[in-house]
Symmetry: none
Subunit: 235 residues, 4 copies
């Protein structure tokens, strides 16, 4: 999962986008006398930063990553033109934070766990969720693909994207491996390889839908693709 965005306030390496089990419990307590004030300040800052990243994400979703300017993000968030530069020391740092933010938002939606089924069917449910959630909130999906598409050549973004990809592949692999152990998936499937084309198909389809929703009947394609996975993996 993506590590913390690097902002000036994050000096102590705050764990911003935690793992499922991530915890913020270990924050160092401030001197007693100023606790109230401090926490108010910190909260205000956190809130402003969040708003700015949200605004940036919207801009990126609408017009692409190279139309993003710090000033516009600040203004759209309801703050000054100067604030983003004040928080994120450089544009690159801001992009890195944005990468993490988008991943976070994306995952928050996609990982609303269906407690449900296990094994192959559970995996298919999970993959199906990627389609469903993407469709439910195209803004995040658009931003995600914009970021993903700009990742090559932008180290700041590449980092988040690579991390996300590897994490997701790992998750898929363990699902597949479990399916094999349960006898639902054929033994000669190579989890690491299957995971790649499954994730690729997922992204390719949603990307295409983002570009051209009218010619991409997402639900039908989703079902066809799930069927494909089943056929390709079943024992």
């Amino acid at each position: 999962m993506p590590a913390a965005a690097v902002t000036k306030s994050a000096k102590a390496g705050r764990q911003k986008t935690g793992n499922v089990e991530g915890t913020r419990a270990t924050r160092v307590p401030a001197p007693a006398s100023r606790v109230a004030h401090r926490s108010t300040q910190a909260e205000r800052r956190e809130k402003a930063e969040h708003a700015i990243l949200g605004a940036a994400m919207e801009i990126v979703a609408e017009r692409g990553i190279d139309e993003l300017t710090l000033a516009e993000a600040g203004e759209r968030a309801g703050y000054s033109r100067a604030l983003p530069a004040h928080y994120f020391d450089s544009k690159d740092a801001a992009l890195a934070a944005l990468g993490d933010f988008v991943v976070e938002e994306y995952l928050r939606r996609v990982q609303r766990l269906v407690p449900g089924r296990e094994g192959l069917e559970g995996f298919l449910d999970r993959v199906g969720q990627y389609f469903d959630e993407g469709k439910k909130d195209p803004r995040v999906l658009r931003a995600f693909h914009a970021v993903l598409g700009s990742a090559p050549g932008k180290p700041a973004l590449a980092k988040s994207m690579t991390r996300l990809t590897e994490e997701t592949k790992k998750t898929f692999v363990s699902f597949i491996r479990a399916g094999v152990e349960r006898g639902e998936i054929r033994k000669n499937a190579v989890p690491e390889i299957e995971a790649i084309w499954i994730l690729a198909g997922l992204r390719g389809v949603t990307a295409q839908w983002v570009i051209s929703p009218d010619t991409t009947p997402l639900t039908k394609v989703r079902n066809a693709f799930l069927h494909t996975i089943r056929k390709a993996l079943e024992a």
Copy 2:
């Protein structure tokens, strides 16, 4: 197939990216006395334009589309900083031309026809070619994905990309349809839907390989994906 790039010199609608059956044989001969001059001038221009687009493609492949500047493209092509702007009049127009150019280059490689097999196997050969050619010339593939990734929100690029996508889908559809007629592909497959996820997988995989070749064993994934297609479609 992509239509002609629109540049100022293309007043008479030069047939730049011909169809398979396209022919340049019908160029209207100029008045005799000026043939030499005209053709020389035109060639000079054509050559320069091609060089500039090639240079632009390289830059895009290396550093992404928003690192592309007209000036650098001109210089890298061995001309002046001003020439690209002189040709294309605006950056948007230049991007449009670049989109067509990249598509053209991409197709030129991918469509080296395998006279070979027909039906489902022919289709798989064809899809396999996309992987193989992409691997053979990563520069074009990188450029292609850079352009594709920037298409949303850049109408100039979206046009070429949409055209390419629709053409390719159409091609895939007719392959699948033929397979159904031959009894090799199951009757309840919906060609228009299958075509989408197949193309999406193709692009998703190559995209991922472009971003992170070390963690993406292209050949193995290619084979797994072809196997997947077979399983998903076979009667």
Copy 3:
């Protein structure tokens, strides 16, 4: 009288070029805690803007309006090349502001009220002042004529010029009308018409003097023209 120049900072409609009775006294006071800051910032900006417009006026006076570049105006004012563009957003907007500024400067000089005489003689005094002040400060006069001469076809400038012309005509008209009422000016004079040729002569003479001072004995022509007005209007 010319209305306020429109610059980005002028959000609240600052009263830049006040009427005779105009007052700046009503500026809304900022929240107490920030008065110092705000006013200092605002003053800094006001000062810079004024300096830039002054520099622009000088350039225009010396070399004409189409030799004016934003960069040079910024530098000559002692700031950076980029500042003018930063203020005015576009060259057109800068020209509009310049038009207002020049008119303002021009009027400030010409309207130093002679409390003096009334009626026809008062009018002649006033017209004479146009000549006298023009001669005293040729820089402003040159700039004024440069702007005036470029007004057709430059809407940004035309606006200020038209406004000034109409205002001045109106002033002349009321002078003439008063003279008629006092019985000093012949009854069949049509104030609106006389005002036009008087203003035209005024401008035509000073324009010619600006172009070619050596062949244009301003004082003598001034007196001849005043004599002409008297003869043309007297009862």
Copy 4:
């Protein structure tokens, strides 16, 4: 009256804009054998040059002098973008030629001699003609004022304008002087001074009409101004 425009072909100082009495009779005859061809060439060139200057004048009339580009003038004249630069070696030379051309066109209209009256009335007729012809062909008048307004700071143009001004003043002076001799004009009038404000008024009025025809009732102002001249000069 304006001297020859300087173009590359005008090596022998061709008398382009002659005085009333100007004559072209002294052109050196070409070698007999090539007379026909030569003259055809020369005529073609003359025609093209004329067309280009006419096109340039139109552009200037419509959009002002700094919107004039050599390329557009060439194209609008029906030739290539490169031709103007080919004829007039530099833009400055082209402007000089344009200045002469505009003056020429202007005079051609204004000097259609009214054989008519002599003395003061003849002079007034002449001045009246300036108004009348200007109104009849606003295109030329607009171009004239555009050129006149840009003359300061553009030596190339200033030359033609100064020449025209001095010539016109001279003409006016001799009219006035004649009027004095005939006893129609008061003896203490100073012809050189009166000429200046009369010309100035003329130009000022037409300038204002060009800028804002709706608020400038030209005919009425013309008549008022002629009346003014009569009153100012009459014995």
